[in-house]
């Protein structure tokens, strides 16, 4: 019986690969409908970063076919006035839980929304896969345990965690010759967290922190902080926070204070492409000599093939989290196939198949598997530099399994 199932699985996988290779969205043979929920902030300022993740996930779902089932996607948008809204994210998760044919969810994009969603999805035993959440406490230690209420793991992510991102940037800054750093953070969980991790590593490597403070989101005047950095004699700057917290405004203020030539380091919060409102678009020429990281692999094995498919579907290049969104949907589809092969497709069988520690998923990001709390074992931080008005990949640091 087991052998038969395995054969069935590989046969199905072959069919799926064939379908994918043809780029076909051949109407699945009518049967029971299975829905994959997609939960992202998708209007206003959030669309630029979360939109590609949604597009990637939709593409993977469109390509997949599962014998005897019709696979559908349902997208819910939890942004309000352009900002991700954790309350709405939790409400959307309840909607997915209430819809019986939803077997798994791709999302959310932001860690704060994940914090709101995990208790809901965990109680329903509904699998979710985030392409981008990087806050360590969502899964690890007592915090992670409390968030899922002591229940079995139902939340996995393909992005690795911030506790590696801050240190990776610190190591890189040190290599670039940074000795005296001035640190500014956005005072929120992400910005302060990543700045703390950066500071610890930078000090451990013998660097000096000549000044550190926080200015909250909504600050428009960074001139005093820039002047303070200059007065402290900093040779490099680190900003913990995202673009909309004011990273480019701080960069401009540094230029106005006469120290715009200093290297400016950030994490994935400022790695947001070149579209309107992005770090590069807002800081303009001042963005040169800025550095950022991403908690994801840059040297994606099937990148070019994926780009071709993505461009054919959407008429634009795949960027940012498009790959990770695609990978999440791929992993869920594989989970469903395993459940089909097991003869019983329920939320529980799909969840169990995906969180299984032994299973290795071949995704667009490469081989991905999950540890005991649902974090990816692909622990790679990629580092980037602004050159000629665009982010250029510099190198990646692999923290191994």
């Amino acid at each position: 019986m087991k052998v038969f199932n395995k054969k069935g699985l590989s046969a199905l996988a072959a069919v799926a690969i064939l379908a994918a290779a043809c780029g076909g969205s051949t109407a699945s043979t009518a049967g029971k409908t299975l829905t994959i929920g997609i939960s992202f902030p998708l209007n206003g300022a959030s669309l630029a970063s979360a939109g590609p993740a949604r597009d990637g996930a939709l593409l993977a779902i469109k390509e997949a076919s599962i014998e005897g089932y019709t696979l559908k996607a349902k997208v819910l948008d939890h942004a309000k006035d352009g900002a991700h809204n954790p309350d709405q994210a939790a409400a959307d998760m309840l909607t997915f839980v209430g819809q019986e044919d939803v077997v798994a969810v791709v999302g959310p994009f932001n860690s704060a929304s994940a914090r709101a969603q995990i208790p809901v999805s965990s109680e329903a035993g509904l699998l979710q896969c985030s392409p981008s959440n990087t806050n360590p406490t969502l899964t690890k230690g007592a915090d992670g345990e409390a968030l899922r209420g002591g229940r079995a793991v139902n939340y996995v992510r393909v992005a690795t965690t911030d506790d590696l991102q801050g240190p990776a940037v610190a190591v890189y800054a040190k290599e670039n010759g940074a000795k005296k750093i001035y640190i500014l953070d956005s005072t929120d969980a992400y910005g302060k967290g990543v700045a703390d991790a950066f500071e610890t590593q930078f000090k451990a490597d013998g660097g000096t922190v000549v000044g550190r403070q926080g200015l909250p989101t909504g600050t428009t005047d960074f001139s005093a902080a820039a002047t303070a950095a200059k007065a402290a004699g900093a040779d490099s700057i680190f900003y913990g926070g995202v673009t909309s917290d004011g990273a480019p405004l701080f960069r401009n203020a540094l230029a106005q204070a006469g120290i715009g030539a200093l290297p400016f380091y950030g994490a994935d919060g400022i790695y947001d492409g070149t579209t309107e409102g992005s770090y590069i678009a807002t800081a303009g020429a001042n963005a040169e000599n800025s550095y950022a990281s991403q908690a994801a692999i840059e040297n994606i094995p099937g990148k070019d093939d994926f780009n071709v498919k993505f461009k054919a579907e959407y008429g634009k290049d795949a960027e940012g989290y498009a790959f990770a969104g695609y990978a999440c949907a791929q992993i869920i589809v594989e989970g469903i196939k395993a459940a089909v092969a097991g003869g019983d497709v329920t939320r529980e069988t799909v969840r169990a198949a995906v969180v299984d520690k032994g299973t290795v998923f071949e995704t667009v990001l490469g081989s991905v598997s999950f540890d005991a709390v649902g974090d990816t074992t692909q622990r790679i931080i990629s580092l980037y530099k602004v050159e000629g008005g665009a982010w250029k990949f510099v190198k990646e640091i692999n923290y191994g399994n």
Binding site: G44, A48, D81, L184, R212, D221, S223, P248, G277, T282
Partner: protein
């Protein structure tokens, strides 16, 4: 005996007139000593922008006792109007190094933006506040909050929710040396243009017929009406001027920071409102003082690495003033003092 009392009251009056300038001077000297020249210039520049916005709050409160919560957003719209005029109508992309051309561009930018914003302010008054003139006080207050949301959403609709860049016409590299420190001309330009506008406003209020009508209307609307003051016209002119100043603040904000965004009005508006209260709401000179005071507190906090608590300090100051000196630094009504 009589002579002595006359002498002492003359001395007292003299002391009264010089006390304010003296304490301002002492405060500035202290701030310069503590902060150093770079941060002092930062604070003066930020204060100039807060002061321009605070004037609009205080003028409207002075004349119709309405806390115009939409005023911060009028400032925000002003920054977008300035951005649009500068980049789309005048075709500016970056700084202008040709001095005569720069002068003309900046003047045209100020004139057009102030004009558009003054009209917008008057329009808001006509449509949203005048019909509620006789309604309970809560009604126009809530309408003001509604207007605030409308303005934010309109800007978001037309210009998007992201940070938008604004051409910085005055080159940021231009600077002069003051006792070893590099002081950008841009900062001096922002401070100077705000001070010129504030002085012009004071002269207008104290020297012109319309200014007198504004003062009498704020003292007693019915009596002014009986004396032949056209109340509707006077209130509309107050909105024209207040919004025009917010437009000017929008221009200098864009020139100084090089960017704007649709949610700018909320934070800045709250700070400017606090400035108006600190100075004594209804009092134009007080609003300007309050704006500078808040800027010094914020910049001071950030200069010493306590930027995290800057907002808390500013609003604690607001609470302390409301509890211990509710009439603010200079007292409530310009009208009563005139």
């Amino acid at each position: 005996m009589a002579t002595a009392s006359v002498t002492s009251s003359t001395a007292g009056r003299l002391l009264g007139t010089v006390r304010l300038p003296l304490s301002i001077f002492a405060f500035l000297a202290l701030a310069l000593g503590v902060l150093g020249i770079d941060q002092f210039v930062n604070a003066m520049t930020l204060g100039a922008i807060y002061a321009l916005v605070a004037l609009g709050y205080t003028m409207v409160y002075g004349i119709i006792e309405l806390i115009n919560f939409a005023h911060g957003d009028v400032f925000m719209v002003g920054s977008f109007v300035a951005m649009f005029i500068s980049s789309s109508l005048l075709g500016n992309e970056g700084s202008i190094t040709n001095v005569p051309l720069l002068g003309v561009s900046v003047l045209v930018l100020f004139a057009l933006t102030i004009g558009v914003m003054a009209l917008l302010g008057a329009l808001i008054e006509r449509l949203a506040y005048r019909p509620l003139r006789r309604a309970p006080k809560l009604a126009p207050l809530i309408t003001a909050i509604g207007v605030s949301f409308i303005l934010q959403n309109l800007i978001q609709f037309f210009f998007g929710p992201t940070i938008v860049t604004v051409p910085q016409l005055v080159p940021i590299e231009w600077s002069i040396q003051i006792s070893g420190s590099r002081v950008p001309l841009l900062n001096l330009f922002v401070i100077a243009s705000s001070v010129i506008l504030m002085v012009a406003l004071q002269l207008f209020i104290s020297r012109t017929r319309t200014g007198r009508a504004m003062r009498t209307t704020s003292m007693d609307r019915d009596a002014s009406s009986l004396m032949g003051v056209n109340i509707n016209r006077t209130i509309m002119i107050t909105f024209l001027i207040g919004s025009g100043l917010a437009g000017a603040a929008g221009v200098v904000h864009g020139l100084y920071y090089g960017n704007t965004n649709y949610s700018l009005g909320f934070q800045s508006g709250l700070k400017a409102f606090t400035a108006a209260v600190l100075g004594g709401i209804g009092n134009t000179a007080g609003a300007a003082l309050g704006g500078f005071l808040i800027a010094f507190v914020e910049v001071g906090a950030s200069a010493f690495g306590y930027g995290r608590w800057g907002g808390a300090v500013v609003f604690s100051l607001l609470v302390i003033f409301l509890v211990f000196r509710p009439t603010g630094l200079l007292g409530s009504h310009t009208g009563d003092r005139a």
